[in-house]
Symmetry: D2
Subunit: 108 residues, 4 copies
């Protein structure tokens, strides 16, 4: 199943329900964070979590990410790869290896 099909399946479900009117970029951004917090709730008191429940909550986050990308004409895979290029430069392997330090403190 490729990106085009997922985006198409989502758009079809949205159109059938006439939901595009609610999907302003700002509302979709709110929805992404609301669902992300439900994902985090799986881990609220515990490091371990039920995989099936995590899958469902992660799917909700991804769904709103796809809808926001579509709304702005962005390709979800492409923006991830573009950002990865930026990250690779900000975190050179020799400085970042095995450290969770933020890039602006890497040379400390």
């Amino acid at each position: 199943m490729n990106e085009r099909s997922v985006a198409e399946a989502l758009q079809e479900a949205v159109q059938e329900r006439d939901w595009a009117q609610f999907h302003t970029p700002a509302n979709l951004a709110k929805s992404v964070v609301i669902e992300a917090a439900e994902l985090l709730e799986c881990f609220q008191w515990d490091e371990s979590a039920d995989r099936g429940r995590v899958a469902e909550e992660l799917a909700d986050v991804l769904t709103y990410c796809h809808l926001l990308a579509a709304r702005l004409g962005l390709d979800p895979d492409q923006i991830v790869l573009d950002k990865l290029d930026v990250t690779r430069k900000k975190y050179p392997v020799d400085q970042a290896r095995g450290r969770s330090t933020k890039y602006d403190q890497l040379s400390d």
Copy 2:
């Protein structure tokens, strides 16, 4: 660019930096919500936002979603489609059309 390539590119960057040790499911879930809030920050005081900045923040959310999916052996596209099936049933077209009502209040 298909899902396999994005996942592979991300894994390669993580392995080069030996970052997998930080990427527990719980830490990745925290990271998803942290980045989701930075995405929302683009719309904090204003409905409109700079498309390039949104693209970067959305990419960060998606990146951690991909890493969490990979960590748990989940296919990001498949879980979105699975969840869409659930949503289609919870929100029948004839009841949900043109309404942002939550499914448990749809019959009101």
Copy 3:
């Protein structure tokens, strides 16, 4: 320093800067979650965090909570105490003791 003084100090700073125009309830709710995620960022990769940094981020969350409460004419202390009454009933001591279980699963 009591609640009245905190609320008054915040209102004064907002009025001097003519910021009330940005402080719709929806924008303040967004701001609460944005700051809450910055608080979480102190613990992104690690259970321990710098106390001074946590204090600053927690202060930002509380600040927007106070502004939202003021905007809606709510007393921050009173709503916490009111909600505590609800929680006490939903989580009876004999059932909830030593368990992080959610109330709707307490009798399981």
Copy 4:
């Protein structure tokens, strides 16, 4: 009702239920953002929201903020006032008046 009483009422309820064991600073920070997102959910598709529902969700955010402050020996009112001093300096009235611009772009 003053700060001491709110903090005391919360501590009493937590002790009765033996919940302090779950209330690590990291777990409380997660809880703050989870509740903050539920607060935002009141405004997910709409600028207006039910005041009573907002009061309940805001109370949940404040509750975890109080618990985190108590856990770290911080005075909630004091840290808000301390941060307000910082904000007053970062956003001088003559530069910040009527603008939602972030402090690092104020002189633009």
